[in-house]
Amino acid sequence: MSVWALFSIKGGVGKTSSAVNLAYIASRAGARTLIWDLDPQGAATFVLRESIQGEQHGKRIIQGKRSVSDYLVRTNYPGLDLIQADLALRYADLLIAKGDRPRRRLAQILSPLRARYDRIYLDCPPGLTLTAESIFRAADALLVPTIPAPLAIRAVEQLVEYVDHHPKVDALVAPFFSMVDNRKAAHRQIVTDEIAGGRYLDASVPYSTVVEQMGVRRAPVTAFTRRHVAARAYRTLWRAAEDRFQALRR
């Protein structure tokens, strides 16, 4: 089993769309998959046609009063389960900080699920917070959607430096380009150069209204269209991430 966190210091970069699509693709590839919506905005929950839960839900999980297994729900897609977002996530940092070893908290919470799922995707809130540190400790891989812009690339470098300097964080950092506007020469150049550098996954997700349609149709892109360039991009992204992860494992 492996835990994949869709994380970015910045917001609005395509974390949720990537998390939902990668989780769906994983489930259709045969993996028993769970997606946990850790963002109080609850976008992944909304797309997967569930409602954001009240505050007791997340609080109980973080405080250990209920097992996370009690909150699993099946989505519309066989093989893909969800833990819904809830309002308590607004102050997740405070809840986590109150417990023992807060940076290990998420890994402890996920531990009973390891036998049940092949892949767990975490749709993470933005920002470098205590919750984020807990996510880093729990994750086997950090997938970092990045807009092809200099400041966004700098943010990735900061994240990589942070991870490198924390011996207890073992996760693979795998950034990829998201919301790529292929009409812009600057985007094209940055994507080509950075992928050639080897750090970024050789798969990028284009900016597309079809991806925005997820919020209207309330379904993963790859569930309502197989042939669109965005659907193909997500499948390529999933394959590239899996290959890199397996190569690292070897």
Partner: protein, 533 residues
């Protein structure tokens, strides 16, 4: 409706008509959002010939509708895993990655997945929706037809006539929404007026197609009356063996997987062993003739089985790059596999010709005739089976002890093989007549013998593997298929096998000490020597 692991039970089923379905949908619309679509799908249940998945309480389905996917889970439960596919999986290696698929693959092992049951459905599917538009349960009304798929068809196309099951109503819960499913059930009881029952495809549809899931077993299972005449017991055993032989004939002809030929050969070898052990009690000249014909068949199946075993061995080595596979470069490995594939085809041709011959048909007729009770078994009927069997088993046991006397880890290979052959003869006898003895007394003896045979078998396997490599090295060299690199790799592998065999020798010596201990000897004496009186 929840199972012990928190998974909802899937699929209840009942019979109804369109009016019943419409009335039900009307009731459900009062409480839920309802999305009704027409659908058409084909379901194929996949399992091995010997029902390994069914026995493990697993159900593997291919579902072809708008998409094509595989689904695996417990029968009657929600799927544990799904996967998009482009073709029916045939082997464990065709399954996707993931824990639930790896578990399935381990159960399937070397057997082929065969399409065992085909279901064609068309009708309407009503999804009950939550306030967010999520499906929280489904009810499906459909017209269902069943058929037996063609095993050789890559799509599992159905052959022969279809069996109609009429209008079915299936109720499908969704994990985490038990309350909604209970509501659906109540509506069915009120509007349709029936009590749905749990459903899984094989149990529900199998009877309509005379499918007997789980019934085939390669193990010999004969219920003997210990006091019955021996001739009668021989008939029962011959019948059980020819049934197994027949059951595997089709798969052997088509080469669906290597286990068909294996079970086919085992049935034949068991029969030869019975004929040899009780030659003086069986009808003559029929028994002698059958023994000779089975020997003829064995000479044809032997090389094919050798090629199968070698292929399985290479598969095993391929899965462990740090082991023997590491001696071969990719080119050398490819050359070896190509050569083996051609060899397999070459040795299969004479077997297939033989199986299409009149001589083969006469062999089967002769075998079946020996399974017929009657005057021909007059000699065998002079003694009860338990008296006759006990004498032979006791003799076979003493034969092992005699051959094993003085055997050590340093003994020559031929002496170890001699013990192995004696152990096999004893094992066949115990298998034939097991049911004629109390289970609590004979089962431990069979287990102890099996432990010895496992070590002897491993020793023999390593010998056979080394011999196979030597056997194939020559033609590879002569035909110029293998270069020096391949020859070196073969030599290194033979060396590794010999090293492994040296370690097994010590395990054999230890297993023999256990087999020959006083406790085992007393158990055999009490069970088999006492009956001689």
């Amino acid at each position: 409706m929840s199972g012990a692991d928190g998974q909802s039970t899937t699929c209840l089923i009942t019979a109804t008509d369109e009016g019943g379905f419409a009335s039900l949908c009307g009731a459900l619309r009062e409480r839920f959002g309802l999305d009704v679509v027409t659908f058409r799908e084909r379901l194929t249940v996949l399992d091995t010939f010997d029902w390994r998945l069914y026995r493990a309480e697993r159900e593997l389905l291919e579902i072809r509708g708008e998409t094509r996917m595989l689904s695996v889970g417990r029968p009657g439960m929600e799927p544990e895993g799904v996967c998009d596919v482009r073709a029916l999986p045939r082997w464990a290696s065709d399954l996707p990655e993931g824990f639930v698929w790896a578990e399935l693959g381990a159960r399937i092992a070397e057997r082929a997945l065969l399409p065992q049951l085909g279901v064609e459905r068309r009708g309407q599917q009503a999804s009950l929706l939550s306030g967010e538009g999520k499906t929280i349960a489904q009810v499906v009304f459909c017209d269902t037809k069943l058929g037996r798929p063609n095993w050789q068809s890559p799509t599992g196309a159905l052959r022969g006539r279809r069996v109609s099951m009429g209008g079915e109503l299936r109720l499908l819960p969704v994990f985490g929404h038990d309350a909604e499913f209970d509501c659906l059930l109540r509506a069915v009881r009120e509007r349709v007026g029936t009590e749905p029952t749990p459903f899984d495809a094989l149990t529900h549809y199998g009877a309509a197609l005379d499918l007997a899931p789980g019934q085939y077993s390669s193990k010999l299972s004969v219920a003997l009356d210990p006091m019955a005449p021996a001739g009668h017991a021989f008939c029962q055993i011959f019948e059980a063996l020819v049934d197994t032989f027949d059951a595997n004939e089709g798969g052997t002809r088509l080469d669906l997987d290597s286990e068909f030929l294996h079970d086919y050969r085992v049935a034949s070898r068991r029969c030869r062993s019975l004929l040899a052990e009780f030659d003086d009690w069986l009808p003559q000249p029929e028994s002698g003739r059958l023994a000779r014909e089975l020997k003829w068949l064995g000479q044809l199946t032997g090389p094919v089985r050798d090629a199968d075993v070698f292929a399985l061995l290479l598969d095993e080595w391929a899965a462990d790059p740090a082991g023997n596979r590491g001696f071969f470069s990719d080119d050398a490995w490819a050359a070896l596999r190509t050569h083996l594939g051609r060899e397999h085809e070459r040795v299969r041709r004479p077997l297939l010709r033989a199986m299409n011959s009149r001589r083969y048909e006469r062999l089967k007729t002769l075998w079946m005739s020996l399974a017929e009770p009657g005057e021909q078994h007059a000699r065998g009927n002079q003694l009860s089976i338990q008296v006759l069997a006990s004498a032979r088993i006791w003799k076979a046991f003493r034969r092992i002890r005699k051959r094993a006397a003085g055997l050590s880890a340093e003994s020559p290979s031929r002496d170890i093989h001699s013990v192995r052959i004696a152990a096999k003869r004893l094992r066949y006898l115990l298998e034939f007549f097991r049911s004629a003895y109390p289970a609590q007394r004979i089962d431990p003896l069979v287990s102890a013998l099996k432990q010895l045979q496992d070590q002897l078998g491993l020793f023999n396997d390593l010998d056979v593997q080394a011999d196979m490599l030597r056997m194939h090295a020559q033609p590879l060299y002569e035909r110029g298929v293998g270069d020096a690199e391949l020859m070196v790799a073969l030599g290194q592998t033979i060396g590794a096998l010999q090293t492994a065999q040296r370690a097994v020798r010590h395990d054999i010596a230890k297993a023999l000490r256990t087999f020959n201990d006083d406790g085992n000897r007393r158990a055999y004496r009490r069970l088999f020597r006492a009956s001689k009186k």
